[in-house]
């Protein structure tokens, strides 16, 4: 997406070419600002200094470029820490010139080992992520400090995001942006990273600076969007008075850049789309069926690949049945237009990483496409073959987004009009998992024989509908006992059948499984009595048993609802001694309403024990302060796993 938006900045008239202030950066050019001696390492690592300097200037060719300095000093106190920190990779993307790379190791005794220039290697297109320079720190030992800096001359990076916080603590973090006063940058800090402060000198240069004396380590936690919660900043070039006084890199600029890229078709593209539409035989049915049909044909026939570097036009895409991600969007839009189906292009960000900030007008959050069909209020993820209309990827649900639709002022003047709105979220009832289970005890084998019908709806179903059709039987046989496990031990799927498993059912029909299962580790002998681990028959539930101080707010990616109906046939000659042990009710209230809940109720009817369990999570976010309440509901389901029935001889 972002490559569609990026434009090269060529200046019309150059300003004065200023001497770079940081081109000659050295170990001690910028004095440390903060004392870091007292910061305690985490798992053997503490970053003592991390400095980023971006100095923007006008090149002799009247192009905006930048000097970028990165300087880091890390104390390593364990073997693992040395192993993790001693390999450095420098991305070469947009680099015009490597001005300097220096690295050294300072031993606990103060001995300094400098990196030799010949030890630096170049790696071409590593993992298809572009070129890198790389080196290993020499002389590193436990207790010392790894320190390196590099100075790069680069093409201007006009906008982006920088994550500061990691799973290791940091002291003395400094960020400096220096640029001619004819430019205007906007930088916004998130999650507690200190705000940037603007200053100017008398030579026409502006500085935006932020520094933090201590940034604690932050680790991943369950039910949280880790990266979205890390301290970071977003920056954008907002004004370039060398060329215009108008706002740069704004949403309205995005609209004017995107219109020709996404909406306007070449003649050959138009005719290719028209003739493909003829072949598609789009059914003359209701709008929803029609749109689903179009989406399904595109996704089942055209390979949509992130790795496609080629720019193909729509005619070639239709012919070769392959496309990059944004071209898949273009194709969908072209067909929708040809079929006179009204749409909005929705641009947002991955909320797991970088939630859309509706108050920061910039390109930074314009990363992920959806297409909205207003008439039926439905969303399509146009370039993700794992989704179909009806299911919005969880990373977009509830996100703010740039909603754009084509408008035409006259034949000459067409563009996209926009507004910022929120993408809707699915309720838990849309993502339901139901279980109807009948259980018999086989005393001879000390096993449970289980007939189970499971129906998954919405996103729960999508998880399987998106890949089941291209899974070989052998692999399916491996996956099934994991999916329908009854405790981790010895679940055998004797036979199964499934319907609605193909991707065209995503967002439309539930996937329904009928299973014949043997669970061979759930019957225990206890003298004359029998202990049945009935709780395990609902499958291993996720848990938050580990008691740690919660740091991240709670985030549930997909809200879910579970209904379980279990019939346990009590073996002849036995009675269930403890049926009420299965009764559970754990609930979290929010504003007086049930927010999430786990319940289980059992009753004996004739020779059957009938258990009904309900569980749902209706809200996706809670602050850290509500963690214990949330945890108790999650753990209630896992506690149910521990429930046992005592069968006593009558």
């Amino acid at each position: 997406m972002k490559r569609l938006l990026t434009i090269t900045l060529i200046l019309l008239s150059a300003g004065l070419l200023a001497q770079s202030e940081y081109e000659t950066y050295a170990w001690n050019t910028v004095p440390p600002r903060n004392q870091t001696d007292t910061i305690k390492s985490v798992d053997g690592t503490v970053v003592l200094l991390e400095r980023r300097i971006t100095e923007v200037y006008v090149s002799p060719n009247d192009i905006l470029e930048e000097i970028f300095v990165f300087h880091k000093k890390i104390k390593v106190e364990s073997h693992q820490a040395v192993n993790e920190q001693n390999k450095i990779y420098i991305p070469v993307h947009n680099v015009i010139d490597f001005i300097k790379i220096e690295a050294r190791f300072i031993s606990p005794g103060g001995k300094i080992s400098n990196l030799k220039a010949e030890s630096i290697k170049e790696v071409e297109n590593l993992e298809n992520k572009g070129n890198f320079r790389t080196f290993v720190i020499e002389g590193a030992e436990v207790g010392g400090q790894i320190e390196y800096f590099y100075i790069l001359r680069k093409k201007l990076n006009p906008y982006g995001s920088v994550y500061i916080q990691e799973d290791v603590p940091k002291g003395d973090v400094q960020v400096i942006y220096a640029y001619p006063s004819k430019l205007g940058f906007l930088i916004k800090s998130y999650n507690g990273f200190p705000d940037f402060v603007l200053s100017s000198d008398d030579k026409g240069k502006n500085y935006l600076k932020s520094n933090a004396g201590y940034i604690p380590s932050l680790r991943t936690e369950a039910y949280a969007y880790y990266k979205a919660n890390l301290m970071r900043y977003e920056f954008t070039l907002a004004y370039n008075n060398y060329v215009s006084s108008l706002r740069q890199y704004s949403w309205s600029k995005a609209c004017s850049n995107l219109y020709p890229n996404l909406i306007v078709l070449k003649k050959n593209e138009e005719s290719a789309v028209r003739s493909w539409i003829k072949k598609l035989n789009i059914p003359e049915r209701d709008l929803s069926t029609k749109v689903r049909y179009i989406e399904n044909r595109i996704k089942s026939e055209i390979s949509i690949s992130e790795d496609m570097n080629q720019d193909l036009d729509l005619a070639e895409i239709i012919k070769l049945k392959q496309s990059g991600k944004h071209d898949a969007l273009r194709l969908l839009l072209a067909i929708l237009q040809a079929e006179n189906i009204r749409f909005e292009i929705v641009l947002t960000s991955d909320m797991e990483v970088q939630p859309f900030d509706p108050e920061f007008n910039c390109f930074n959050f314009l990363d992920t496409y959806l297409v909205h069909i207003p008439e039926i209020n439905a969303y399509i993820a146009p370039s993700d073959p794992l989704y179909r209309m009806g299911i919005i990827p969880s990373i977009c649900q509830g996100e703010f987004a740039l909603f754009m639709h084509p408008i035409s002022y006259n034949e000459e003047l067409n563009t996209l009009a926009y507004d910022i709105r929120q993408i809707p979220s699915a309720t838990c009832y849309e993502n339901t998992d139901t279980m109807f289970q009948v259980i018999n005890v086989d005393f001879d084998q000390a096993e449970l024989k289980v007939k189970s019908r499971r129906a998954f709806y919405g996103d729960v179903a999508r998880n399987f509908q998106s890949f089941w059709h291209y899974t070989d039987d052998k692999r399916k046989a491996e996956i099934l006992p994991l999916m329908f496990n009854m405790g981790s031990e010895n679940t055998h799927i004797n036979s199964y059948s499934v319907i609605n498993e193909k991707p065209e059912n995503i967002g439309l029909n539930p996937i329904i499984w009928d299973l014949d299962i043997t669970a061979s580790a759930l019957v225990e002998n206890a003298g004359d009595d029998i202990v049945v681990k009935i709780g395990e028959t609902i499958g291993t539930q996720s848990e938050l048993y580990q008691a740690t101080t919660r740091k991240l707010p709670i985030k549930i990616d997909v809200l879910r609802n579970y209904y379980r109906n279990i019939v346990f046939n009590i073996p002849a000659g036995y009675k269930v001694a403890n049926p009420t042990d299965l009764n559970m009710h754990v609930e979290m209230l929010n504003n007086g309403k049930t927010s999430c809940i786990f319940t289980s109720e059992s009753k004996i009817v004739g020779n059957q024990l009938i258990i009904i369990s309900k569980e749902y999570y209706s809200e996706s976010e809670y602050p850290v302060s509500r963690y214990e309440e949330f945890r108790s509901v999650i753990n209630a389901a896992a506690d149910y796993n521990k429930k046992t029935l005592i069968l006593k001889k009558i």
Binding site: V136, S303, D472, Y545
Partner: protein, 655 residues
């Protein structure tokens, strides 16, 4: 473990969820059939498969040029046939190439069924990329990424390439199976009369591969041809797929040129000569820095063993492991002085420093080449460069016996050998003309003991207690590494993973471990814990299963398992559970003794009452580390017996 890559190989066919990852081939199109007939035939033959390899072919030509140079040229062809709808996921593809191969041609195309004829659509865009393998810092392996057009049911995805290598030492390795069925796999090798070659099949089902020889003029052609309807996919606790996937390895033994025979690689001695040539210029003199550090850490030590112990430990701890694959640099150890200065290196570099340091204190040490257990090969069966992927050092002890030193491990003490090389042959260098072939011993069960003892009681329905776990040998080195990586405050958080108890609700409240720098003693963890919701109480009775640790309870062997079961090492696993029973409590019938006794596999579990305690002792012993054929079902029987024994509770009744 580190890597020294020696082969010119097709990769075993590998299909993962999102990508088909395969290698290079060439061939003329065999099929003139109609697409619908092809599809119907293959669907009938391979039910339940989404995709198969229809044809995997490699033609190899070995030639001596007029000026006496050798050239190996490879033509590779591979056709994947798609058997299901919605197959667009197969479009993304990649080809791997070793740095010793020059790529002359690379083509990929789809044969798309249109109007019951195949239409060719060619890939026009290839992206070259580097990949870093697991734990490898720098790798000269590279790939071409591309996307097949028009992938649909009934389409054939074809990749062809032509590559050459001028180095005749690297063996040709060809796999006749992968993790998807292979309809036809064929290898041909053509070479002139003046060339001598040797070859050997490896893996299972090798009789399914036919071999024939033909001759045309002065050229010989060897042909191997096979097919495999089954997929060769590694399973839980199985050896690497090389052990069972049928494959052939071919060496060029030598050739005559102008009346003179030029040896290449036809014997163990040839292999040694090649290996030795990579170390001749290494450490010809011991640098003062190396000597200084060796002297300083062995000062005041009298015995040779103690000196070597210190040196070994110092290199393990102070030279960081960094794997670099870089052409010939991937084969030649660096000078000890450079390794010492850099403080990092791979297996060869660490061996270089180890041998130099040991020699510098007047003791005898040599390099040795070995293949890790990932490789199924023995030097005595078929010597080839593909046998080795690792380098170690050897110290000749007081009795002139070789002691293996693997510098890449952190938590094996002198005399302990990483499981990854146990049982493998190694070639120990002894000068330009001599070497020793040495079989690295496999550790015994009683050298790899894990013991967990718990003292438990039940208070108000809550089971709690304290425990002590002790580890020796391989389990020790694995467990110690987990603790080194984290702060001591977090030890309690990792115990659920390292010494899991019967419930995931187990809460470890304290944890202390023995010294992490003392490799010569067993490693111990002492801890306190609680197991909430573990005991079921009913009408004054408590039902408690004393198997709080259930070793291997989640291991399963499928009924049709044919791949051998492979364990890290033989081992003994002991568990003792001592339950304190309150006064005035009746103890119900104790479960009977459980015994499983089969060759190489023993399990015994017994309950005893002693005063106010019930004691459960459980011990599992495996005397071997590999179980194949009939032994697999015995292993399965033991797992079943174990689970039966684990599923027993005792009843405590209050008076």
């Amino acid at each position: 473990m580190t890597t020294m890559r020696f082969m010119i190989s097709n990769k075993p066919l590998f299909l993962c969820f999102v990508k088909v990852v395969i290698v290079f081939f060439c061939f003329t199109l065999a099929s003139s059939a109609q697409p619908s007939a092809d599809l119907a035939r293959l669907l009938a033959k391979y039910p339940g498969n989404f995709v198969i390899a229809e044809s995997v072919t490699r033609d190899v030509n070995f030639e001596i040029t007029r000026n006496g140079e050798t050239e190996l040229s490879f033509s590779d062809y591979q056709a994947i046939f798609v058997l299901a709808d919605n197959a667009t996921v197969l479009s993304e593809s990649k080809e791997y190439f070793n740095s010793q191969l020059k790529v002359r041609e690379l083509e990929a195309y789809s044969l798309v069924p249109i109007d019951n004829a195949y239409k060719k659509q060619t890939v026009t865009d290839f992206t070259k990329a580097r990949e870093a393998g697991d734990g490898v810092y720098y790798d000269d392996l590279y790939t071409y990424l591309f996307n097949f057009p028009s992938v649909c049911k009934g389409s054939r995805l074809v990749t062809t390439s032509k590559t050459v290598s001028s180095d005749p030492f690297y063996p040709v390795v060809f796999y006749f199976g992968g993790n998807i069925p292979v309809e036809q796999a064929k290898l041909t090798l053509t070479f002139p009369d003046n060339v001598v070659v040797s070859h050997r099949m490896f893996g299972y089902d090798t009789t399914s591969v036919s071999f024939s020889k033909t001759k045309k003029g002065r050229y010989n052609t060897y042909t191997w041809s096979g097919s495999s309807s089954k997929s060769y996919l590694a399973d839980e606790q199985s050896p690497s797929s090389r052990y069972f996937t049928p494959h052939v390895i071919i060496n060029i033994d030598g050739y005559s040129y102008k009346g003179k025979y030029n040896k290449i690689l036809g014997s163990l001695k040839d292999l040694y000569d090649w290996d030795y040539s990579k170390i001749t210029s290494i450490n010809t003199e011991i640098s003062p820095e190396v000597k200084y550090i060796a002297d300083s850490i062995t000062a005041n030590l009298e015995s040779s063993r103690e000196k070597v112990r210190q040196i070994y430990s110092w290199v393990q701890q102070n030279i960081k492991y960094v794997a670099i694959e870089d052409g010939d640099n991937g084969l030649v150890p660096r000078q000890a002085s450079l390794v010492l200065q850099r403080r990092y290196g791979d297996c060869k570099d660490k061996s270089s420093l180890l041998t130099a340091m040991i020699r510098s204190v007047g003791l005898n040490s040599n390099f040795a080449w070995v293949g890790t257990r990932k490789l199924p090969y023995k030097y005595t069966d078929f010597p080839a460069l593909s046998n080795s992927n690792h380098m170690i050092a050897v110290w000749w002890d007081e009795h002139n016996k070789p002691v293996i030193l693997d510098g890449t491990t952190l938590y094996h003490s002198l005399g302990e050998i990483p499981s990854a090389i146990q049982g493998k042959q190694c070639i120990i260098e002894q000068g330009p003309d001599n070497f020793m072939l040495y079989e690295i011993p496999v550790s015994k069960a009683d050298e790899n003991i894990s013991t967990d003892s718990v003292w438990i009681s039940i208070e108000n329905g809550l089971l709690k207690g304290h425990g002590k776990a002790t580890f020796t040998g391989e389990p020790k080195s694995e467990i110690m590494a987990s603790f080194e990586a984290i702060d001591s405050a977090r030890y309690v958080n990792i115990l659920n993973k390292l010494i899991p108890k019967a419930s995931n609700k187990c809460k470890y409240t304290t944890a202390q471990v023995s010294a992490l720098d003392n490799l010569d003693q067993p490693f111990t963890i002492t801890y306190d814990f609680e197991l909430p919701d573990y005991v079921t109480t009913n009408s004054g009775s408590s039902y408690v299963n004393m198997n709080i640790q259930r070793f291997m309870n989640d291991s399963q062997l499928k009924a049709d398992r044919w791949i051998p079961v492979e364990l890290e090492t033989p081992f003994i696993n002991r568990f003792v559970s001592v339950l304190q029973v309150p006064d005035n409590t009746a103890i119900g019938i104790l479960p009977e003794i459980s015994i499983f006794n089969q060759p190489g596999l023993n399990f015994r579990q017994q309950y005893n009452r002693k005063g106010n305690t019930v004691i459960l002792t459980s011990e599992i012993t495996t005397l071997n580390r590999s179980f194949s054929g009939e032994e697999i079902s015995r292993f399965r029987d033991m797992l079943i017996a174990l689970n039966k024994a684990y599923n027993k509770s005792i009843v405590l009744s209050g008076n």
